[in-house]
Subunit: 620 residues, 2 copies
Amino acid sequence: LPSMQTSGCKPCPSFKLREVASMYFTMIAVFLVILVVALQGSAPRESDFPYKVPLDPQGLLELSWNVSYPEQTVHFQLLVRDLKFGLLFGMSDRGEFENADLAVLWSDGHNSYFGDAWSDTKGQLHMDSQQDYQLLGARRATEGLYLLFRRAFSTCDPKDYLIEDGTVHLIYGILEKPVHSLQAINISAIHRGLQRVQLLKPNITIPELPSDMKTMELTAPNIVIPSEETTYWCYMAELPAGFPKHHIIMYEPVITAGNEALVHHMEVFQCAAEFDSFPLYNGPCDSKMKPERLNYCRHVLAAWAMGAQAFYYPEEAGLAFGGPGSSRYLRLEVHYHNPLMFKGRRDSSGIRLYYTSTLRRHDAGIMELGLVYTPVMAIPPGEDAFILTGYCTDKCTQLALPAAGIRIFASQLHTHLAGRKVVTVLSRDGRERQVVNADRHYSPHFQEIRMLKEVVAVFPGDELITTCTYNTEDRSRATVGGFGILEEMCVNYVHYYPQTQLELCKSAVDPGYLHRYFNLVNRFNDEEVCTCPQVSVPQQFFSVPWNTFNRDVLKSLYSFAPISMHCNKSSAVRFPGEWEKQPLPSITERLREPVPRCPPTPGPRPAAPVPLDLGKLRRD
Amino acid sequence: LPSMQTSGCKPCPSFKLREVASMYFTMIAVFLVILVVALQGSAPRESDFPYKVPLDPQGLLELSWNVSYPEQTVHFQLLVRDLKFGLLFGMSDRGEFENADLAVLWSDGHNSYFGDAWSDTKGQLHMDSQQDYQLLGARRATEGLYLLFRRAFSTCDPKDYLIEDGTVHLIYGILEKPVHSLQAINISAIHRGLQRVQLLKPNITIPELPSDMKTMELTAPNIVIPSEETTYWCYMAELPAGFPKHHIIMYEPVITAGNEALVHHMEVFQCAAEFDSFPLYNGPCDSKMKPERLNYCRHVLAAWAMGAQAFYYPEEAGLAFGGPGSSRYLRLEVHYHNPLMFKGRRDSSGIRLYYTSTLRRHDAGIMELGLVYTPVMAIPPGEDAFILTGYCTDKCTQLALPAAGIRIFASQLHTHLAGRKVVTVLSRDGRERQVVNADRHYSPHFQEIRMLKEVVAVFPGDELITTCTYNTEDRSRATVGGFGILEEMCVNYVHYYPQTQLELCKSAVDPGYLHRYFNLVNRFNDEEVCTCPQVSVPQQFFSVPWNTFNRDVLKSLYSFAPISMHCNKSSAVRFPGEWEKQPLPSITERLREPVPRCPPTPGPRPAAPVPLDLGKLRRD
């Protein structure tokens, strides 16, 4: 039996934070023989697993994966840097450890097992009656143990998670003591956490890049990451004077080695052209020292989040920057997630832009779909899934889009803290035709620009309907629309070409009909609500007694009352036309929910964990 | 190969009605060899298939079946009296031939096949990818061909019908021409029809019957069945003078031989004790000649519908009849269904009562649950599944039921023509505990008294919640509650013991809250509805403009507004107490929809029809 030593905790500054008990198991000799399935040939190449993300803040667990759409399967390669007595890896609706779908490797110190398990509403683990995490192999390397396994997107096992487009909440747990059975694992007592990723990356062919392509790095200038859980770092950069118009055709992250688990997401914003200059600030975005003017740097040029790869513009389009009429000032924002409060860690992460002066055929544009930022759109408190819908109507697209239409190739969904799902659907002649972007496990903490799997063509007369689902179970008063962090938004920033004048295509309920709602609530509930005109809409919402009737009628109002449309060239300039009291788009035919395809060959039934000979795991 | 002649159309008076084309195929020689599965041993005994029903009005197709709850399977034996080129047998939601689940036997004249098929929304047939109607055998007899096959209640194939408790709509079709493939069957061009049955009969042990049991037959006096599609026949009978109190402990149908397909359902009613005598009428119930007083004969003593067997009271109880305080007059009502308009058919069908003078421990009682007959409960027009709910509250059961509770052992669901589903659930301490009776394929044309699979114990403080689902897609104005055939009811007559004073435990929305609804609709819709107090509730409902908002708000009202309770000793006498503006029972925990169990060994996948050697079928 080949022997294996622990590989010495290379990135291990969290040492002090470990519990004393776990110190016991630090040095283990692992005798490793794989009985089940040996990896065919040698170690898989890195290109076999194009996507990679650290699971835990220390980087002990590193997940790589690939996606096969023909097979409707994900292959996972999990690197375990410091194996103790096993680990849990899995998926759940929003990262919770209850009702989760888990692959578990566990050892009693002598024998090791791998199995597909699930946790019930109390977090108790059970072996799954259908084994759908299929172990393909395990491999020892100096850096740790590699586990290779596969999972079909859909297993048709009701205990399993359905892998869908959009965000997937991955969960992990580390077993630091021997366990004698799966059932003996106390899931609330282990070192555990969650990581959000887009598992089902689109399968996009990379467009050809021009020979005159240049690069520009916007990176933090060797800063010290604050020893705080959450930091948004702001760094201002300046384009050279007279920098002419270019097209950004690609960008990618630049991450300082060793900080992969800390850099959560990054964005590059262009500042407003109306100001000649901006102060060159370098510091936390929420610092009192941050100059006020940086709030005018909000036009997104590039955005990256953990697990994302390089972003390529379609070959017909590029994002214009530089040249007259655009600001020379750029703001880099880096979100550091440092839950273990590492101190003194230096970082120079940022984004590398690839741009060309050979302009492509089309400028790319960004359009806002969804709801206007107004308090008339509100969510009652204590709702687990309240839906608000924003419309981009046929009348607006008729007026603002070219006859040849536009092509949407990417999308960034946005809500504040109560957002749980966001979906935009394209409707034509009253029939839903295509999902533009859907995230049924949306998290406000994970807002990526995502390439669409398929470019969506939108023509004059089409309707774009954006639906956001909110959870306000933890709130005691109504959540109204607005800019505040405890107010809500429902936005889909779609990236498209060719650029048009249309920047905003959003709606809100007609305020007159909302006034009728308050009157109705007032009369029906014996005058408890003050509807005096001098009272603000939020105040009126806050005074509604939220019984089931008033909740239901608000829903009915939002799905009946006419809307006020914002069909705007910029946030302040509307297209000419009548945009008040517009009828709600009527949908005569809805898209069917896709019926999940079941795998042709389900795993063994009933439950049978796979024994793994990892040798004797012992305390040192 | 054994040869088989057609058995000559014994009950074949419909001969004239056949299409000329079909005359071609009347005489066929069938050479019958069963390749697939020979019946084990000899022909199955009659007791193997305790339930029997004719499918078509001529009785060409006769279905027998049994139910195995341990195996969750139904075994069918289908007798085909005059086989031509095959037949269809199946199930669908409400008897339609679209989206149906079908077993098909078809022949091109040379080869015959049996397979599990389904029809799409256009009625086109397709072979099912999973074969769940499993052919077990076929057998030639003088009376025709017997096909024996089985079907699991639930197959987990989305194309298959889920066999549930309550009404099942069976459909059949007869292939009168050779067909070369399943796909070639034009389902709209064949002789076809539907039959409603309760497939999943409860598995009840028959109580011991006393030695002094007597019988009394209430049968039509050799009447001539009118040559009309639908006849309700009324026949009055009289108990002997001084007939003392007895207990009915069982009853069963008496059907004149040959009329099995015509007698649809029968009921025996006792007349009101307040009248000393009733005219002894014998004739159609809707005749102008029928004396008015017969409307006072409405107390159900016995009810039977096609496919039902004998009805046994539980051994602790019997239904009282005779004795002082009860009328000596009984009314038999027979519903004849004669779509082929047979003429001159004589009939003496009716019900045989088994009764004893050795009274059992308890009198059985009948209680009405559901909605009060009042127009305040209404259904908007154009609804495909509008739900109304009637409550029997904790306050009423607290007052009216004995501490030891009552036992419900049977139930008869009742609505008028728009009813589609009826469900009664027992709730205790706000938690739904048990389904009392549920029919998710309820038809107003098939109202049986059904024994419950399990006796339901109801204690003081329990709540009984009855939910009816209506379809008003064919109506242009609101359907209000009431006695009229185009008005609606939502009732569950539950049969229970020991008898209590509680005869009615029903509810309706508080009229004051309904008035607020009309006011609200009025204001919200710019004064279109007349809410002047002199206008009747139906008139107010008829004037509501039925936009989505007004529909939604009516639903919200019904699930929010307090109720007026009828907790009554008889239809006019309430129990003492405050019954107006009562709070709606609140349900904190709902019963889970049962997850259908899939069969352990699904049929062959993919589709493979079973070839049957029925010899050469030829035109004569």
